[in-house]
């Protein structure tokens, strides 16, 4: 069985698992939304201020709170199940791909949910919906892969994974925020799209190449 098929099976069942807990929809989206709600309480509720900081705050919330999505319970299966998958000969790269893909889809959902909240609360000027439709998945994919690697390396260990993710996610944040700003100003954003794409490629390679080593290290 090819790695792709294994990954596809695992992805399907992971999503089914997540749909039942509903952790992302019921917990993380509200969590991100509350963050966007309290920020104006801290910085001021002037409409022009909020309109200008809205998109930036949104991306910061996506970055910092989105990590929670990648560390969800369903991403770290129980040790016995992992052992069973190892014995079945499931390729570690397939497990990485499936977990990262599931996280990416859930992050996309998170981005959309929290994005709607931001638009309502901050009333920013949003331009370039077409490009944004590209930026959102690129960000989701990058964060998902980074979070999955961090989760494997910390073996689901609390606050450590977010600490590992945050500094390395700077290019993702910059790419997203600068692209959004560039769309608003009507300047070129190609370089930022390239940054996001490059991050995704680097992390995909890193994740697949190190998957086997990380699997050994969890036993």
């Amino acid at each position: 069985m090819t790695v792709w098929r294994q990954a596809a099976f695992l992805l399907g069942f992971q999503l089914r698992d997540e749909l039942r807990t509903g952790e992302v929809i019921a917990v993380v989206i509200p969590f991100g939304s509350i963050a966007l709600l309290v920020i104006p309480m801290a910085v001021g509720i002037e409409t022009t201020l909020l309109a200008s900081i809205g998109p930036g705050m949104y991306w910061a919330v996506v970055l910092l709170f989105g990590v929670v999505v990648t560390q969800r319970r369903t991403a770290t299966s129980n040790p016995s199940h992992r052992d069973a998958l190892v014995l079945l000969g499931v390729d570690p790269a397939a497990r990485f791909a499936a977990t990262a893909a599931a996280s990416a889809l859930l992050l996309l959902l998170f981005e959309i949910g929290v994005g709607l909240v931001m638009i309502v609360l901050y009333d920013p000027v949003v331009a370039g919906w077409g490009w944004l439709a590209l930026v959102l998945p690129l960000v989701a994919a990058g964060l998902a892969m980074l979070g999955t690697i961090a989760g494997s390396v910390t073996d689901g260990g609390g606050a450590l994974a977010p600490l590992l993710v945050a500094p390395l996610a700077i290019p993702i944040l910059l790419g997203a925020a600068q692209a959004t700003e560039g769309l608003r100003l009507g300047t070129g954003i190609l370089r930022w799209i390239l940054v996001l794409a490059l991050v995704d490629v680097v992390l995909a390679l890193a994740g697949v190449l190190t998957a086997r080593v990380l699997e050994e290290s969890s036993r």
Binding site: A166, P167, S217
Partner: protein
């Protein structure tokens, strides 16, 4: 018991200290500029230590030799100290020169980002007891971080190039007179020798720590012998 490298480190540091204090002050910034003799070598060491961590991480994954893992960890520890020193001296320099503790200069931001990556790497190492597992996980994170850092680098540089006003005084960039250059090079050399000496000591310490945990001792009791309780009939001790 001092080794040649440690004597060399002490000697070069002393020379650099004397040179740094003896050379004339900068024409524009005055004595404040002498912080550069600590700031620049610290920043250089931060990158050197990070590079050593990367090389050692790759070597560890290829050879599975724990010695490489210890070198990676030791280098990161030294690196985080000097990165912190670079940031602190940068701020101490910046306050009198720019009037603020922090500017969003690309290099400063990158140094700060690297500081946090190091901290995360060290936190990861502390979180794992088993040297073998620690080695693999740290090596993977070290390599992923090293692959990402160039992307972090030019994304930050591009970002700042959009907003940087052109007339900011950037310390370290203007022409530097020969005596000051000499003092600077002395400092860089001294710090590098110091790094080598510290690395060696720290690796030895790590070896001793791991040996305590992993050397099999014949007479050592098995973990299970700690369990005391009624044995079922037929099970001998």
């Amino acid at each position: 018991m001092k080794r040649p490298i440690e004597i060399a480190a002490a000697g070069t540091m002393l020379t650099a200290l004397v040179a740094g204090l003896a050379v004339p002050p900068d024409a524009v910034q005055g004595d404040v500029q002498r912080i550069m003799y600590v700031h620049v070598p610290s920043a250089w060491l931060a990158y050197l230590a990070f590079g050593v961590t990367l090389i050692a991480s790759v070597a560890h994954l290829r050879t599975r030799d724990l010695r490489w893992d210890r070198r990676a960890g030791a280098s990161a520890e030294i690196g985080v100290v000097f990165t912190g020193l670079a940031l602190a001296t940068g701020m101490l320099w910046g306050k009198p020169v720019w009037g603020v503790w922090w500017t969003w200069d690309a290099r400063l931001v990158l140094t700060a980002a690297m500081f946090f990556v190091y901290l995360a790497y060290l936190a990861l190492r502390r979180a794992t007891d088993d040297p073998v597992i620690r080695g693999k996980r740290s090596a993977v994170f070290g390599i992923v971080a090293a692959l990402q850092i160039p992307v972090v680098h030019f994304s930050v540089v591009w970002w700042r190039s959009l907003h940087q006003p052109p007339t900011i005084l950037r310390p370290g960039e203007p022409q530097i007179d020969p005596p000051l250059l000499f003092a600077l090079l002395m400092a860089v050399t001294a710090f590098t020798v110091l790094y080598a000496a510290l690395l060696r000591r720290r690796v030895e310490l790590a070896e001793a720590e791991d040996a305590l945990l992993t050397t099999a001792r014949i007479e050592e009791p098995v973990a299970g012998s700690a369990v005391v309780g009624p044995l079922s009939r037929g099970e001998g001790a």
